[in-house]
Point group: C2
Chain length 189, copies 2
């Protein structure tokens, strides 16, 4: 019944109470490579969860500033445990860079090499970010979470390796030798 965002929130609150702001920070650093969320989702979702009795907010005043910390309730924990036991949906991947490469048949070799270089650089930046998370923030990760982080590292390394391989293959061929399908609209034989 709840959105995935709701379950991520509940999942994070299992460890300790957090504010909406905290949740966003945690999502950005620890789950961002396989799940992201924006303030526009988090704050309204916290209100909804509170209305349903799955979390409980406490207003804390630090001087004049208010900070609302949400804690998971027993009902919330039960809802989370139930979700955890359900089968998972498939993965969803959206990769605009790969899409452009996929449709890049009309580009010349140099343009393709340029695309590959940018793709590689973007993934290398992603990889660096995951590494940073793993090194600078050991406290956020329990053992499983660290394994998931390693999954992310391996994933990006694979993608970067693919980019390098493709670059080599493309660079090795003569500049204008590019295949154009002679009869793209033929149906079958």
């Amino acid at each position: 019944m709840l959105s995935n965002t709701a379950y991520v929130i509940l999942g994070l609150l299992q460890k300790c109470p957090l504010s909406g702001y905290d949740i966003k920070s945690h999502v950005d650093i620890s789950t961002s490579f396989f799940f992201s969320a924006s303030y526009g989702q988090i704050y309204p979702e916290l209100k909804r969860l509170e209305k349903k009795g799955l979390v409980e907010g406490t207003e804390l005043a630090t001087g004049r500033r208010t900070r609302t910390e949400y804690a998971i309730t027993a009902a919330g924990q039960a809802a989370f445990d139930d979700w955890l036991a359900q089968p998972s949906a498939g993965i969803e991947l959206r990769d605009e860079g790969l899409l452009k490469f996929f449709f890049g048949g009309g580009l010349d070799r140099d343009a393709l090499l340029d695309k590959l270089a940018k793709l590689r650089a973007a993934r290398a930046a992603d990889l660096a970010r995951v590494h940073e998370v793993g090194e600078d923030l050991p406290e956020i990760a329990d053992e499983l979470q660290r394994e998931v982080l390693d999954y992310g590292i391996g994933l990006y390394e694979y993608v970067i390796g693919w980019c390098d391989q493709m670059t080599k293959r493309l660079a090795a061929r003569p500049e204008t030798d590019f295949p154009v399908d002679p009869n793209p609209c033929a149906k079958g034989d």
Copy 2:
């Protein structure tokens, strides 16, 4: 200005005119692992693109049934080429199975092993689908598209390998030996 869905449509139409139904089939088999689209997006988007003069629809009558084939226009090709030259957005990944694993700290070893087995099976099914596309439909793929398919194959193989590794590691340990963070809410040291 256009949505990614619009560009995917234009990209597919570069080769030859297609109906909305055809476009959905093509997306399902050739780009589904890094970009998907539903009828609910495709049909309205075709109408919008036609209104903008980027595609042109022709009604064909096969007996009593009508089929509208859309062809890309010069303006459409220009818009597509322009998009191709722009820098790409980052990748977006959503993986519910991984999310559950990430938050699975409270589960016992057997439950985790079960999650892993299901995760692996799902990815193996995905991999099989990509293989099928590559073998059964050689005509859809130009050279670059085949490379992208290989990227997908490698990606799923990596994920499956990770599942196997995790499974071995988990299976090797005594059943109840699981770390519970003694003081999860501590800030810093």
